[in-house]
Amino acid sequence: MAGFVLRRIINLIPVAFIVLLVTFSLIHIAPGNPAYTILGEQASPSAVHLLEVKLGLNRPLVVQFLVYLGHAVRGNLGRSLLDNQSVAQLIVTRLPVTLELAALAVIVSLIIALPAGILAAYRPNTWIDSLSRFLALVGAAVPNFWLALLLVYFLAVAHHWLPALGWVPLNQGVGSNLVHLVMPVIVLALPLVAVTSRVLRGELLEVMHAMFIQVARAKGARERAVMLRHALKNALIPVVTVVGLQVGGLLGGVVITESIFSLPGMGQLVVNAIFDRDYTVLQGSVLFMAMVVLIVNLLVDLCYAWLDPRIRYN
């Protein structure tokens, strides 16, 4: 297992390097002077000059990259162009909101997806299965920002059942904190439910053909027990991977939902950075999110190998 962990971590180094190269190159994909790209076409030459000095854009590209690399490795993501705050600091202050939102979304999605997937597999090709398939298709096709607006309209504007937007920190009352998160969590959880429930159903149906299921049946176990005690454990392993792979999509959804519900998390930071033309914040956030995805995928891989020894020796 130690060898496996080490190999995985070593594999991660070139990938992280390329990720850094991509975020570094981001500003250079537009033709012309990057300072003008950041400030806009009508920027004054003195402002352009100032920015070039501040970001080191007047130095050779290789030097720029090495400086960027050196800083990033030590957790220095530069300073906001808007108010000169440390980008890393900005991200850290906003992280708890996003973490709570994302964690709740994953938990809620599992609470719905696991029974839905199990029921669909328990009675495949019946109305329950069709219903779960239909809901999965709908869940994957609803535009999240539209769903968010619909929820705001029906639950907050029309009926005042829930607060429309805003954020209450956990230390000012768990209840009002959670109430403000109901709609964002629904929006984020729906696509997760769609994917997870269908994958679980597929995996369960496949496991049900295995020999050990025949054995369990032969010894007289009831069908429900066979599925819940024998098949489910094996089918859950790939589900772990799928949930891990959804993290990237979840972060994309976070950007949209946080900006609609004005939650002060990382997603709102990204959207504000775009509107304020605050390039360093945008760049730093993209890099941070990519690193989060890499680390989550690494953890999922390790989990997977820990749960299923066959993988370690592959």
Binding site: N11, P14, V15, A16, I18, V19, V22, L26, I27, I29, A30, T37, R133, L137, V138, A140, A141, V142, P143, N144, F145, W146, L149, L150, V152, Y153, V157, G202, V247, G248, G249, L250, L251, G252, G253, V255, I256, S259, V270, V271, I274, F275, L282, Q283, S285, V286, M289, A290, M291, V293, L294, N297
Partner: protein, 293 residues
């Protein structure tokens, strides 16, 4: 009469059912897939014949008519500038479908050759390409696309490039996986023995045999591309107004949610139905080509 004896005496031959016919029958029995296809064709008709179908000009502003709720004259109401929402929806089909297909074309056009080369040659090249793909997949697609669209400036073309580039790794990975599966098959070895060039083997022999899973992924990606374009437009990173565009309509309408919800309600339904159509069709295709899935 010049009918020969041999002709009349031969028993009626049983018509062989071709694979294509069999696949079509399996597809036609899949209700979800057929519904998906019908939805897609419906939107195609709207896009192609928009000027004939739309009751009004999409950008005909008339402030006297602003914020009219849905009525017989304006089936989906009018927006803040008095423009007919239905007509803008119908015209908006064009940019939505074109951009979604173009995005997938970027992903397939670049990702598939990369996957072919990576899988076919293997070795160090494969390692390098796969690390590149891994790092591409590490970025939350929408966030990277947003950043790229921001750097390039708001336009439909830039949105297509930004989202298209983000889909490349996934096509490269799917293609590579399929190549690894077929590259030791006998028909590949046979053409290698016959001296066919690697390019010819990859594109004429391997690609045609692995096309179906790629088509399935491409169809499903059209659905997610529609959502991504709408998201970018919603954040103001899509094509600038006044060109009608579902995401932008939805965003513009969101300001009037309390008194004129129809302005954003209908574009959302449009996006939802289009994505649903492509996803259902893609799911159905997968069932047809890969019944074991």
């Amino acid at each position: 009469m010049a009918i020969s004896l041999a002709d009349t005496q031969r028993p009626e031959p049983v018509k062989p059912v071709s694979n294509r016919v069999r696949a079509w029958r399996r597809f036609a029995r899949n209700r979800l897939a057929v519904v998906g296809l019908v939805i897609i064709l419906g939107f195609l008709v709207l896009a192609v014949f928009a000027p004939l179908i739309a009751p009004y000009k999409p950008d005909a502003a008339n402030f006297a008519l602003a914020f009219h709720p849905p009525s017989a004259q304006h089936l989906m109401g009018t927006d803040d500038l008095g423009r007919d929402v239905l007509s803008r929806m119908i015209y908006g089909t064009r940019s939505s479908l074109i951009s979604a297909v173009a995005i997938v074309a970027v992903g397939v056009g670049i990702g598939v050759p990369i996957g072919l080369v990576s899988g076919y040659y293997g070795g160090l090249l494969d390692d390098v390409i796969m690390r590149l793909v891994d790092s591409g997949l590490a970025f939350p697609g929408l966030v990277l696309a947003m950043a790229m669209a921001w750097v390039l400036g708001p336009s439909l073309f830039h949105a297509i490039i930004a989202i298209g580039v983000v889909t490349i790794p996934q096509f490269a990975r799917v293609t590579r996986g399929q190549v690894l599966e077929v590259k030791s098959r006998q028909y590949v070895e046979a053409s290698q023995c016959l001296g066919a060039s690697p390019l010819r083997i990859m594109f004429r022999h391997i690609l045609v045999n692995i096309a179906t899973p790629i088509i399935v992924v491409a169809t499903l990606t059209i659905g997610s591309a529609l959502l991504s374009v709408a998201s970018l437009s919603f954040l103001g990173l899509g094509p600038p107004p006044p060109a009608p565009n579902w995401g932008e309509m939805l965003q513009a309408g969101s300001e009037y949610l309390t008194n004129a919800p129809w302005i954003s309600l209908f574009p959302g339904i449009g996006i939802f139905l289009a994505v649903l159509g492509f996803n259902m069709f893609g799911d159905g295709l997968r069932d047809v080509f890969d019944p074991n899935h």
